[in-house]
Symmetry: D2
Subunit: 331 residues, 4 copies
């Protein structure tokens, strides 16, 4: 099957590669002509402009947009919509805010165009592991493009099957899901990322407590010096908490147990924030997911203004001076 | 190798079974004579009393205590210590508070007895998966009992090896670790459980948001009805958040997507609380692990007194009446 | 000075009364003709319709809308805008979302109308204590209407003056502030309410711990039965934590120490949610304000779906049964 | 009445001064002879040694220990107990852990000595405002020493009386309370401080959101530059959130709106930690009080190890680089 891909970064490029390796064809476009040339050398049909891209696609066209969420994606989809014809499909595979998908799905439908939002997970590992895809949009279109999704998905592989799933949608076991109408794909992907933040923070706090189990503030008989790399590894095997995130942690610690190659300045993408917003809209108390998000906010600050307010109050009621700036734990 | 086991519940009994299946022998004791008889029928040597148990063990004796943490374990270990001789070993495989291990290790050492604290993970699945063990105590004793631990551990199996671990303690890859001196085993197990709470709550909140994505309080165009069982399953395959806990969740949802076979009244064991206490002693901000613990506290209450205080204040300043008791979301 | 008031509920009616008591005049309108008649009997000019209301106001007109935030307020302001003339002023004194104010301020300015958003605090006590007002909009209009705001504000009274405020805006000490352009008033009021949630929850948790200090789960020598009403009262006097909210709590507890006249089902208004949204937009970690909001969400549920997920996982890995449904603490 | 005071720091010294100003007498002792001399110059009887201190006190003696909680206080009370006689009273007015009081109360009772634990609030302002005191111990002793407590307490002053307190203990309105047996005084003081942390953090977060309302990450039409000093002041007057802590905040901001005279490195005393421990022992979810404590932990670190774990995971699954170390908000 033929797919058009706009945006040939790590994700877009590897998606094309995985498709071509499995017998599909691709028309590719990127602002960076070198990225186009590179994929063309691997067998894709390169396009110089968006118009050229459209012209080179078979009808009905399928254009997968894999760009940073926000203005660039929005502008590209608007431009595509002007060039495309009834029956063509636009896929947004990036990390778009699901309410934008709802809006776009409705707007494009008025023009006779189809729109799919595909939350795509897999990161740098996707090209070999396959991509877990969460898809929103019309059933007929999702079904039509099934060969693409099936190829990109990881497939069952050696992950054990879940009992009791007889009679359920078999695509799910392959690693992709038609989650619902426009927006549903990115909504599910958003929650995936929100959970990811929570899981990461849970491990991170646990290792932090282990790391600081030997500090001088503790009574000598209650201090421990743990081999954190070994602990991460042992938990991978027979404990209750193995996970892919723990695998990655064990790898990182095996490489450098101190992690002093990292500063601990942690970015957050939109999904964590949107997850909290969704929780609030639904009046669902999402304590852990929110705490995980806030930990990232905090990681990017030297001090908050809130902390200065605390210091000012303490000086006010107790004449308390601030302690010397000496971290009381290890980082 | 011979092991004595006191406490033949699900954990203790299965540990004995896994050992015997792999060529070890066992002397077993339990207050419930039927439990002793059952294991004796499977090949263990049954003991009628603690004295009988001691008498039937080869010297130096190894007695693994697998009882509920707290008074029963404490009393049993005290009784054992009186009956045992220099060089004998007591293992506490339960969920004991690590500071009790530190104390016991020192007290028993004065008597010439050895003490190991073994945090044992694996639950009902341990007999087939093997047990992840986190061991505290003297190196010589841990080394001497290696055949036991090696047999109980899951082994490498088909879990991929972590790169960069060359030259590190090979036992870790088998699923057991000598974590440090007395207390270290249960400390690491405590953190394991603390992380477990956090991971569970992260998934739980994510699914809660998905579950409530269709409530009437939301604008109609922003409502979704998700198939939560399918979403749990798809995330097992190629996403960033696969884990054993997700496997279990997917199974439970495949069986009954509404989970109305559960009330949501969630117990907490001591480890979650001790984890938070340890974090506080170390001045480590463990937001997520604490929030996960509190969510369990909250799950066991109809209403907190705190909430009534809020209602009273609201009545006081605004004349606000309490809303009708109608949950605004799905559970 | 003359003020038009639309919405004669507790807040709107009392604002009119406080103004009239201090020499101002009022034209009043409400869908409920009885509310209009009641205030007319106290000296206000009653209006039968919005058109009548507009006709009875001197030019340039000032219409204060005091209705529930959302659709009713929006529709009323739109209707007013059609009837009003260049130079007239619309005040939204309700709990409107500040981004709606930003939009409205811009839209109305195009029509030559002025718009003020006034966050109004004071609740049922405002008629005697006065209202703390946080005002957004054009300086000239705020200055022109100063006689209204000055009368509604509490004034300095016997609250001690803060040192170091010489040369600062003297209105602030009277209890009202021109906080900035359109939206600024409701933004500041939103943060006020967000803080209010946090303060309330802090007291509530403290009293909850005191209330449960005698539960049987604690060792007998560590149990206390506290007189919570007395503790609330003593903290009003010389401690670090006196506040108006504590005054209200002490009153409520003096009346009924068990608070069993409340169920603990706690509503949240939009401001707490918007505060968290604002924190997230700014990447400010607002742990306490968010936890306070979530405590309210939780208060309105019997059980969350998240809790059932936890139960399902626990059954999955450990065969744990749910404990009997017996709250472990007092509420 | 005569009181012996050990520890003549800011608190101990001022307590003596307030007593002497109101007709009581004092015997004073401190390791620092200059502190003794200073108070002797103001009318107190100075003691050179603990023995001298005991000798100069009338029987039955009353010795108030006002030292940093922990080892110094413990050692001093042990030394006092050896020198004192049946019927004498030891008061611990510091910030002692309440479980130590329970233990001491029992131990001293065996020797025929009385023990009172007095949680004392008031800080540097106590000498003029009076001290709010929360007292644990035997009723007869508390009653006998009432003249002391009555003088130290703030009295009713101009703080309005709470309705419905007729028939209740009148001491409470004076600002002191006999909270229960040994430990009860410090338990109540501990909760007071726990609440204090929560209140402080609630204000702090609110001001942090206001402070950052103009950052560039926000859409231009949604940015505000607030005068935070004025906002703190206006909330003191007629809003729902006035408090003594807000008074102090308003003062600090009037002096220096940027608070750049503070680094935001915030100490925590034991009470906040013990409050969380108490909540956990009681299974009371104290989200806000805990979050407030953790905010202080976090304020004293450059980066946590947890954050480095997050960075390592993100590098592992997504190849994400850490963002440049540029705080995204104002502090």
């Amino acid at each position: 099957m033929q797919l058009g891909m706009i945006g040939l970064g790590r994700m877009g490029g590897n998606i094309v590669r995985r498709l071509m390796k499995n017998g599909h064809t691709a028309v590719v476009y990127d602002k960076d002509a070198r990225a186009v040339a590179a994929l063309a050398a691997e067998g894709a049909v390169g396009a110089d402009t968006l118009e050229d891209f459209i012209a080179k696609l078979d009808k009905p066209r399928t254009a997968w947009v894999m760009l940073p969420a926000g203005k660039i994606t929005e502008a590209t989809i608007e431009a595509l919509a002007k060039l495309m014809q009834k029956g063509d499909v636009i896929i947004d595979g990036g990390n778009t805010f699901w309410q934008d998908d709802v809006r776009r799905g409705a707007t494009l439908k008025e023009k006779g165009l189809h729109y799919l939002d595909v939350g795509t997970s897999g990161g740098v590992w996707g090209i070999e592991r396959g991509y877990c895809m969460m898809i929103g949009g019309d059933k007929a279109v999702v079904d039509r493009l099934d060969p693409i999704f099936k190829t990109l998905a990881p497939g069952i592989g050696d992950i054990p099957r879940t009992q009791g799933r007889e009679g359920r949608d078999p695509r799910v076991e392959q690693g992709y899901i038609h989650a619902g109408p426009s927006g549903a794909g990115h909504f599910v992907k958003m929650i995936h990322n929100g959970i990811e933040y929570g899981l990461m923070q849970a491990y991170a706090e646990g290792f932090d407590i282990l790391k600081n189990a030997g500090i001088e503030a503790l009574p000598p008989e209650h201090r421990f010096e743990f081999d954190i790399a070994d602990i991460a590894e042992v938990w991978r095997r027979g404990s209750v908490i193995p996970s892919w995130l723990l695998d990655l942690t064990s790898s990182a610690l095996a490489e450098n147990q101190t992690l002093d190659n990292y500063s601990g300045f942690v970015e957050d993408s939109g999904e964590g924030r949107w997850t909290v917003n969704a929780a609030i809209d639904e009046a669902v108390p999402a304590e852990v997911l929110t705490a995980a998000l806030y930990a990232r906010f905090r990681s990017r600050k030297d001090h908050t203004f809130a902390e200065k307010i605390l210091s000012a109050m303490r000086a006010g009621f107790g004449g308390h001076k601030e302690p010397p700036k000496k971290p009381d734990t290890k980082a």
